[in-house]
């Protein structure tokens, strides 16, 4: 009695030693990759995720192999494991007692599997356990380790499994920070693991190739390991030496470098261009914002503008190669440098500031008050270069929030003692010649950039007169800060303008002297406009209290705030001999870049799209139905396009083969048609087999006859006649009918849309051979 076949795991899994080596190397490789994730999270929660995900993925793959699950079975198991452990590990705030997932947690987990990757590259690092951002790490480590073990245990060439961590590592780096963290150690560790793994596999492969295998012995294995270690050490040593000679850049290009951030300031109107609007009589005494807990002299920054195109100062953006334009989402709490003190400031907005979120100092954390606070909090983005914040979608009037900040120093800085720093700011497109003419006599006799800047500020304070030109008793003063307006400012007598013009002029002058500079729009605690009605609340800032100053980068003190607006005093009458300059109309916003969308200056940033006027005139329900129908139809067509393309390609190929130019080619083409049809039906036709071997694999006797005829047409010296080709195609049609009749409807459909036979001819080796054979 013959033994009945059993589903023994011993016949599926490799020897324990091989299995152990697979698990060991997989875990080591993915542990090295986990180290690459560390700069993204820097939290104990991530350590727990890695410690669970990697062994779990390995275990699932082993179980799936032992129980002979198909690939989709393993995928289901990994998905189930992700659902079970995902919320407690990666979304712990949504787990009851830290273990049981809440329904919202599951939804968040599923959402994060798809969207977490995008969120990860648009947020400031490290993110810790913020929201569900641990999910990408969990997915990568769980799926990666499971896939690696599965390939190692199932693939015909197990060594291909090393490709998975080898590909996974740079991908993880791509999601990491731009600053380089442990580049050599992690790479070397992963390289060592993968090389050792390859060495082990090579040994297994050779042993398996032997007939009556003879074990190479411990000595051979030791030699191989030693060789692998030697290669890694030599490569690592050479790499380290090279790095010592040519140090790599401190920063690298990763996804977050190139990805479109959630907020593009260049598509937003310059707030400085709308500065004068705050001084319109009907608005000037309105409360702009209230700030409680603000130290005296501390500044509330609305926007920081460092890019000037000759028309307006704007926030730089990636479009103009400035880090000041890159706003990223803020995780729970930003790092606080050692020794720094954190202050809390409560702010309340009296009016909408567009996207700009007034802030102060160096942001540590932001807490939104009121309803829907978490959603609003999630829209806060921040630029650490300029210490300015933005609320994507707009900061509405009435918004209340608390800022935990490291206050900026408020002491007076003697400008004559500082020298220009090296901060990167966008280049100025053009500086008016009149500014240079005005600047030259002021600074030419003064030594030192700091002293020159102090002289310029002093001259602005003494020669300049403050006027917004909005009240009847004020001197005329044109708004704007274009080149034309600044020309007028420096050439007119007396020099009349307000913070908009003086800050713009001073920033350009500082650039001319050599200081990287920028214009800051905001409020200064303790500094109030002395006109109009004073506010009842001492912590409140009126619209007319809005001002602007400049900041210059210095070697000694970093960015230093410089007040350049002259004090209010009576403006003398203009010089009668001087002609009134003809000025051009001033645009209120900067012109867009060539490829940037025109900013809609009229629409407030927080406008509800649903409230926009619909000009189509159609019934909204009908329009919605049409849109949904069109979208569904489009999706169906989109989904069917590949299928139709495949069917068309196969039909064209068949027609071309049947009508090939000569009988020999038609016979050969007939044979190829049979092979392709068999391939599309899932028959494993050996790719490197001869025709007879392929015919044997296909199985039908008539196919073997076709193979012989094709062989004769190809290799015999005599040319076949057309009748023979016709007979071959009759046989081909018969074989295809046999295929069709022996298959179910579903199998026929799958064969029709299968791309196996199309892919067969797209391999490089095949192309090369065919090219060679065509001569």
């Amino acid at each position: 009695m013959s033994p009945s076949p059993s589903r023994s795991t011993a016949s599926v899994l490799p020897r324990p030693a091989i299995l152990a080596s697979v698990l060991l190397f997989t875990m080591a490789a993915w542990a090295a990759i986990a180290f690459a994730w560390w700069p993204v999270y820097r939290d104990l929660g991530f350590v727990v995720v890695a410690a669970v995900a990697i062994p779990l993925g390995c275990a699932l793959a082993v179980v799936a192999t032992a129980l002979r699950w198909p690939a989709w079975g393993l995928m289901l198991a990994v998905t189930a494991a992700l659902v079970v452990v995902g919320v407690p590990l990666a979304v712990p705030s949504r787990a009851l007692y830290g273990v049981l997932p809440e329904p919202e947690g599951l939804l968040e987990l599923i959402s994060a599997v798809a969207l977490g990757w995008t969120r990860l590259v648009t947020i400031d690092l490290p993110v810790g356990t913020y929201q569900s951002l641990l999910v990408p790490a969990l997915v990568s480590l769980l799926v990666g380790s499971a896939a690696t073990v599965a390939v190692a245990l199932r693939a015909r060439r197990p060594a291909t499994a090393v490709a998975i961590p080898a590909i996974g590592y740079p991908l993880v780096l791509a999601f990491g920070p731009e600053s380089v963290v442990w580049p050599i150690s992690t790479t070397l560790a992963l390289l060592l693991v993968l090389l050792l793994w390859l060495a082990v596999w090579r040994r297994h492969r050779r042993t398996d190739a032997l007939i009556g295998s003879v074990d190479r012995g411990r000595g051979g294995a030791v030699r191989q390991f030693a060789s692998a270690v030697m290669v890694v050490l030599v490569a690592g040593g050479a790499g380290a030496g090279l790095i010592a000679l040519i140090p790599p850049p401190d920063e690298r290009t990763v996804i977050r470098t190139v990805v479109d951030q959630p907020f593009d300031p260049f598509a937003t109107p310059s707030p400085l261009a709308a500065y004068r609007a705050s001084f319109q009589p009907e608005r000037a005494d309105g409360i702009a914002l209230t700030a409680e807990g603000l130290p005296d002299g501390e500044r509330v920054r609305v926007a920081v503008l460092d890019s000037y195109d000759g028309v307006v100062f704007a926030v730089g953006s990636d479009s103009v190669d400035s880090a000041s334009g890159r706003f990223v989402r803020v995780p729970a709490r930003r790092d606080v440098p050692e020794g720094a003190s954190v202050a809390a400031v409560e702010l309340s907005l009296g009016r909408a500031f567009g996207p700009w979120l007034p802030s102060t100092g160096q942001l540590v954390d932001v807490t939104i008050r009121g309803e829907d606070a978490p959603a609003v909090r999630d829209r806060v983005v921040y630029n650490a270069v300029t210490d300015s914040a933005v609320l994507v979608g707009g900061a509405p009037a009435g918004l209340r929030y608390r800022l935990d900040v490291i206050p900026a120093p408020v002491e007076e800085v003697d400008l004559s003692t500082v020298s220009p720093g090296a901060a990167a700011v966008p280049a100025i497109v053009s500086v008016p010649d009149e500014l240079r003419d005005w600047l030259s006599p002021t600074i030419q006799a003064i030594e030192g950039e700091g002293a020159r800047l102090a002289a310029v500020v002093e001259r602005l304070q003494t020669d300049g007169f403050l006027s917004h030109g909005t009240d009847d008793d004020e001197a005329p003063s044109r708004p704007g800060h274009s080149i034309d307006r600044l020309d007028e400012l420096v050439t007119a007598t007396p020099m009349v303008g307000d913070a908009e013009q003086y800050a713009a002029l001073a920033a350009l002058a500082a650039r001319e002297i050599g200081f990287p500079s920028r214009v800051v729009l905001g409020f200064i605690e303790g500094v109030r406009d002395d006109r109009g009605e004073p506010p009842v609340d001492p912590a409140a800032f009126r619209e007319r209290d809005l001002t602007a100053w400049i900041e210059v980068s210095t070697v000694e003190r970093g960015w230093v705030a410089v007040d350049v607006v002259p004090p209010r005093r009576e403006v003398p009458p203009p010089d009668s001999d001087e002609t009134t300059p003809i000025t051009r109309p001033q645009p209120a916003v900067q012109p867009p870049l060539e490829d940037a969308p025109p900013p809609d200056e009229q629409a407030p940033p927080d406008v509800d799209l649903d409230e926009r006027d619909d000009a189509t005139g159609l019934d909204p329900l009908l329009l919605l139905a049409l849109q949904i129908g069109g979208a569904v139809l489009g999706l169906i067509l989109l989904g069917l396009t590949p299928v139709l393309a495949i069917l068309a390609m196969k039909a064209r190929r068949r027609r071309r083969r049947r009508h090939a130019r000569d009988p020999a080619t038609r016979i050969l083409a007939g044979w190829m048609q049979v092979v392709d049809d068999a391939t599309d039906r899932g028959i494993a036709v050996p790719p490197t087999g001869t025709r007879r071997e392929r015919a044997a694999a296909i199985g039908a006797p008539s196919v073997l006859v076709l193979a012989r005829v094709a062989d004769r047409a190809v290799y015999a010296p005599d040319e076949p006649n057309p009748d023979e080709a016709a007979r071959v195609w009759s046989a081909v049609d018969a074989v295809r009918r046999t295929f069709r009749d022996s298959a179910t409807r579903r199998e026929r459909l799958r064969a029709a849309v299968s791309t196996r036979s199309l892919r067969r001819y797209s391999d490089r080796g095949g192309r090369q051979r065919r090219r060679k054979e065509r001569g």
């Binding site: 490197t688 007879r692 290799y715 005599d718 054979e773």
Partner: protein, 322 residues
Amino acid sequence: MTMTPEQAQWFSGLAERIVTNVESVLLGKSYVVRLGLTAMLSEGHLLLEDVPGTGKTSLARALAESIRGTTQRVQFTPDLLPGDITGITVYDQRSGEFSFHPGPVFATVVLADEINRASPKTQSALLEVMEEGHVTIDGTTHPVDAPFLVIATQNPIEQAGTYRLPEAQLDRFLIRTAIGYPDHASTVRILAGASGPRATVLEPVIDLDTVRTMIDAARTVHVDPVIGDYVARLVEATRAHADVRLGASVRGALALVRCAKTFAALDGRHYVIPDDVKSLAEPVLAHRLVLDPEAEFDGVTQASVIAQVVVETAPPSDRVAV
């Protein structure tokens, strides 16, 4: 001149008669008989590496008898001298002249049993005859008749006290193979007396002149250039193989093509196909490889290398992009 399809059918018919005739003695060994016939019709020689008692002598004798040829068996021993194989010149006192006494090599089929037990000098004497097709003694050349087939045997088990054939001499053998033990069914038939009594003489099915005509015809089988390219890629792959110190030579490639021609004709074809090359790659090329000592120590064999090369070297693909 190229063989015609009709000639190929004639060739195949005769060969089939010989194979059937020999198979009546050597049951269940059609492939080996075909290889032996291929070696003879390709004007080469056959090396059998096999254990005793598998039918080597029967094969040689049956082949010779089937073509109405003669057969000689030489048991190689360490004290065997070259003259014992090639023949000697003896002084005849009555006539006062030297007369040549031909050795056992002057036969249609010569069975050199356990060739590796003789000294290298004696081995070389036989190998010279195999290569040159004549014997030169005392300045006189004595050609051997065609067809001339040497079936040499080596015992792969008992290596003590033997002189291993050098690679250069192994290269002289067109084909190396093993008969091997018969399968179960054939063994039962042998035990039942199906192969007949040992002393039975087979009836010849063709004569020597016909065999010579077949040898000439086999040379005219068509070989497409892509087959030549395939053979070249195979031998190049043996040279590039990591476990091989010395790959197949050009002589090996020529031998493979020559055997493939004969093999195709045996199958009734006047053209060679890649299957012929694949079938013959191991018997024709394997014994010409010199393996890396470390790989050999690991247990890698010439046959396993050829098997890997054949699997990894793609045969000519379909030549037109249709």
